[in-house]
């Protein structure tokens, strides 16, 4: 960890908080994926077993969970692309703050589109 309080992209502000959020969402998605592969494996047990478990994904409670999952994936994905741009593009490091706000805006657009769609699927209408 750099000890200098200046001259790093990673201390305080956008650089650090996006890194913390990237880490938290990455871990969250990983644990979801472990469970998800196990529940999908129930197709090898019986149609009844699979349908029973996937049925729980359709409840209002889980619908909210799916919104959280999409929020985590969308942030991790767009922020990951930003990290890649900062690493590989010449003007990336200079623009990393602008890129961060770009991530937030694209993330907001996805969530504003997805949340009503998900609520319609769940509650009908």
């Amino acid at each position: 960890m750099a000890k200098a309080s200046t001259g790093t992209l990673y201390r305080g502000n956008e650089g650090m908080w996006s890194w913390v959020a990237h880490r938290v969402t990455g871990v969250g998605i990983f644990f979801f994926l472990l469970v998800h592969v196990l529940d999908t494996a129930l197709v090898r047990v019986s149609p009844e077993a699979y349908n029973a478990v996937i049925g729980t994904y359709k409840t209002p409670f889980m619908a909210i969970g799916e919104i959280a999952l999409v929020a985590a994936i969308a942030f991790h994905a767009f922020n990951g692309l930003r990290v890649i741009l900062v690493d590989f593009s010449k003007s990336g490091p200079k623009n990393q703050k602008k890129l961060f706000w770009g991530v937030i805006i694209v993330w907001l657009i996805i969530m504003i589109a997805f949340i009503p769609r998900q609520l319609m699927h769940t509650f009908g209408g």
Partner: protein, 150 residues
């Protein structure tokens, strides 16, 4: 008085020169390449399973049978499984290295991580390739329509 020479930014600055291993370089690159591919795979997966049609409400055994009847979705899911698991496992390895300082704790956590990952990758791969869309003796009402067509 001698003049102070200021080195150009980013020249000759390296936190550690000699410990840089080929594996770490490969892992760093893999995180980026797999990340770009995963954006397409996961957003495609979420679009078809969560957004299109009735979304998650439409998913049942017959839905999975319909998708895995096509090699396209089999390969899609296989790639997604492997890339996401390897990307996530390597990401967690980094995090363990960051926070677990005792060698014993590090070792134990890493072992748990690798064992869990291998189990999930092997299980997920087997599920895709041994899946039977029309299991004998199952309630036909739960199966895809192509099961009773024959």
């Amino acid at each position: 008085m001698s003049t102070t020479s200021i080195p150009a930014p980013r020249t000759g600055y390296s936190r550690h020169k000699s410990t840089r291993s080929k594996f770490e370089m490969f892992a760093w690159l893999f995180m980026r390449i797999s990340g770009v591919v995963l954006v397409i795979l996961i957003f495609g997966h979420l679009f078809v399973n969560l957004w299109a049609g009735e979304g998650v409400q439409a998913i049942d055994f017959g839905f999975v049978a319909g998708k895995w009847a096509s090699p396209f979705w089999q390969i899609w899911d296989l790639l997604m499984l492997w890339l996401a698991m390897l990307h996530g496992t390597n990401g967690l390895r980094t995090i363990i290295m960051d926070y677990a300082e005792k060698p014993g704790t590090r070792m134990a956590l890493q072992m748990i991580l690798y064992i869990a990952s291998v189990i999930v990758i092997v299980l997920g791969t087997l599920v895709i390739f041994t899946f039977d869309p029309c299991p004998a003796g199952a309630d036909p009402a739960l199966l895809a329509s192509f099961c009773s067509a024959a």
